[in-house]
Subunit: 205 residues, 2 copies
Amino acid sequence: MAELSSASGVPVATIKYYLREGLLPPGERTSPNQARYGEEHVRRLKMVRALLDVGGLSIAGVREVLAAIDDRTSTHSVLGIAQHGLPAPKPRVDDESRAWAMSLIEKIGEERGWDVKSDDVVVESLVGTLCVYAELNRTDLLARISDYAELAEGLAEVDLGMLSALPTTESIVEGAVIGTVLGDALFTALRRLGHQNASARRFRR
Amino acid sequence: MAELSSASGVPVATIKYYLREGLLPPGERTSPNQARYGEEHVRRLKMVRALLDVGGLSIAGVREVLAAIDDRTSTHSVLGIAQHGLPAPKPRVDDESRAWAMSLIEKIGEERGWDVKSDDVVVESLVGTLCVYAELNRTDLLARISDYAELAEGLAEVDLGMLSALPTTESIVEGAVIGTVLGDALFTALRRLGHQNASARRFRR
DNA sequence: TCAATATGGATAGTGACTCTATCCGCTATG
DNA sequence: CATAGCGGATAGAGTCACTATCCATATTGA
């Protein structure tokens, strides 16, 4: 276990904690108080840290995501997996705002030819976010939401294209999770870089 | 204060807490133990909740962001403001990985004509994220990072375009913050919708 | 062989964070 | 003039992600 610890950079006590929490499968027993850990444990451990540190998931979230990876029954909806563990902000929303948000979302859906289900978790969080815009009286900032949707679609296409190029189901499932969680961090950072540059260009600073 | 509470939906005790933490300016005193709160307090309070709930910022982060809004000395770098409070994952990174990540970032920078400063916080977090990809041996998922960058640039242009259309400096600064924090949540949700749709289309589910 | 060290497992404790509850002296109001 | 509510201070609650200690057993080095 000390070996596993030094290979992954995670303290022994923390590894024990993850084992207790079921984030890490127990090692192969060699004797009543001895276990062997292999390469897949190191990998899993790194995965856990990535989800926690970069993805910002909670322990429970990581558990869900890993469970979803493990009992992958299908390749479809594989991109929905990572959403299980994602922190979903749920501001309370009155019916009027919700209706307004839904109509906006449906408009976007029509433009893009998307099939929007109103009971979806993603739609739910989208409604929440939109309502916060409304709450702050900054619906003016939603003026170009169509452009957002177009770019989001482009990004989704890139994501899917990359995944479908992967060889094994295993790598696809894992890639979907990593692509969702780390991909968010990655794209967000790139967006910030873009801001800096566009801002410099525009204001000729 | 009870009024402020019911207008914003935030418990009185919590408002007191925010006051203590400096997230909310004290009300205008009408007597030694009486204060009046106005519309701007309600607004500020909603802003605080938005940053906490949707943006996922910490109290300290919110304080920083609000402080940045308040002493807005310039309109330039206004989009960098919100980054102050954002949770920045900082995985430790060895020199080799860092060098690899930096070269990748610079390549992207050249393609897009971006001026990349290696000591920037954004670049820093980008390096961290890229190194996690490497750590997980999934650099294959970075195959289309150029496309990511292109889309990120497009998004940044949309953001900037929207901001520059705003009338007052005040609304621009606030819009930048909201656009960064809520905009992330918004775009992420749209990306997920795009995933669902693209996945359905592709796998004809 | 046998003492020193390490192991896995259980349990309890730590520190940070975000509230929340209670108390207090004062004051505006009916 | 009683009472209800105010702002302010302080302490407590609950969660979360670890971390430290203890223990009986097992491996290892001299």
